[in-house]
Symmetry: C2
Subunit: 266 residues, 2 copies
């Protein structure tokens, strides 16, 4: 049963730009309703130019308990947090923030851990495996660091921006000396897991992020897009008999972590 | 049917301090649900020190369409509005604000018009009548100016702060030269309408704002408090046979005006 918003309702704000496709308001408000929690999550679409002033102002709102942060603010938010979880510190970005009992703000980054847990929910264990990943942007960076942390053996990264790709390879090598990591050709053949961490697949008519003809059924394929959940890549991979993990798997694992952080998971 | 909040939901914010007794979130969100409007009103409890920065920041939020403003921010908000309705300009305060098509902000003050319309909804017409009012604070000021505008003949004001009372009398005299207006003793006898515009009656054990023994059944009695709706004053007046108008009558008339302003009243 949905509970009416009153003057005493606790507030959570989703910050991003754009937000029209964001899933978290529907998801978290359903959690509040199901568990009888007197709280609401509302979207606030704000451009980078307005972000710093908005977050500083929101912190003065007495009934604000937390923030969910999405693109393009995941890096910028760090300057407003007093304490960071390991993943946030490692990635240099955060997507959840909580006001703590002493009034200070704690933030963490659940994109990477959520991706890894989403794989495991589908029975795909990345430890000691080889990974091909298309895309080296913000989400890819979080995922690559979480996969390294989870103990993958080998990683090949590919991005149309070669410099960005090389930078992420450097980061991974610096932090995980035992990880075999390289930038390389856009070819997923003979990897245990092929990941799309580019936006390709969100819009009808997008090219595939890599050549599915190179996949054998032994390669698992994962995508980060939630709308649509089954991207053309995942549909083609499934058709070839590959195990798949979707953006929704990642999203649900992330929300489980956020629910734990905010203390809603009872 | 309640509609789920999504990333595309339009936002309205209630600004005040404290807000735990505020009625507008429940009321307006019920309006949105009943009319299938994809919008939500959330409370933001903020102290005066944080108000200016918060409202400036909120204006940069792309999906924010309007504000409801309550104590202690009704005066402060004026500096953030580009256009004012007549009542807002006259009172020097606003309690509703809307982002207009050109991006500028329009604000108005519905406390006074809402009070007058609330009386009328109970069949009490203030034009050409005599009024006794206890309290000369912000709400009283808005009500007194709206009553003067509605054509009352005579008004006596009383406040424990004599200077505040004299100031409001001066304002009324300056703007309404034909209105007989005075500050005077706390005695509602022989007035057509006696109003409590003080906070007395919100808390159990509060003194009555004036002596009900002085009331005859020909005097209507009105109160501005919504919680409780029937204050000890109104209960005593009703017992003596006086017509009454409640804070809820005022609130409902105000919300009808706000619904019209925001375009929800179809």
């Amino acid at each position: 049963m949905s509970r009416a918003i009153s003057g005493a309702t606790r507030l959570y704000v989703l910050l991003g730009d754009p937000l029209d496709k964001a899933r978290s308001p529907e998801y978290y408000n359903a959690v509040f309703a199901a568990r009888g929690i007197d709280a609401v999550l509302v979207p606030m679409e704000v451009a980078p130019a307005g972000f710093d002033a908005l977050i500083r102002a929101l912190k003065t709102v007495r009934n604000l308990d937390g923030l969910i942060v999405t693109m393009p603010h995941k890096q910028t938010v760090l300057a407003h947090l007093d304490r960071l979880g390991d993943a946030a510190r490692q990635v240099g970005a955060a997507n959840v923030a909580r006001r703590e009992a002493d009034g200070l703000w704690f933030g963490d980054m659940y994109d990477g851990p959520g991706f890894v847990e989403g794989l495991r929910a589908r029975g795909i264990e990345p430890a000691r495996r080889s990974i091909y990943m298309a895309g080296c942007g913000g989400v890819a960076r979080a995922i690559a660091l979480a996969l390294a942390q989870a103990g993958v053996a080998r990683m090949r990264l590919h991005d149309i921006d070669a410099q960005r790709c090389a930078a992420l390879v450097e980061t991974l090598r610096a932090q995980y000396s035992r990880l075999a990591c390289e930038s390389g050709a856009a070819d997923p053949a003979e990897f245990d897991l092929a990941i799309n961490a580019t936006p390709l697949g969100m819009r009808p008519g997008d090219a595939l992020p890599f050549d599915v003809a190179r996949l054998t059924p032994s390669t698992a394929v994962a995508d980060v897009t939630t709308k649509p959940e089954i991207t053309p890549l995942l549909a083609a991979a499934r058709e070839r008999g590959c195990p798949i993990a979707t953006g929704r798997d990642m999203f649900e694992a992330q929300t489980a972590l956020a629910e734990q952080l905010f203390g809603w998971s009872r």
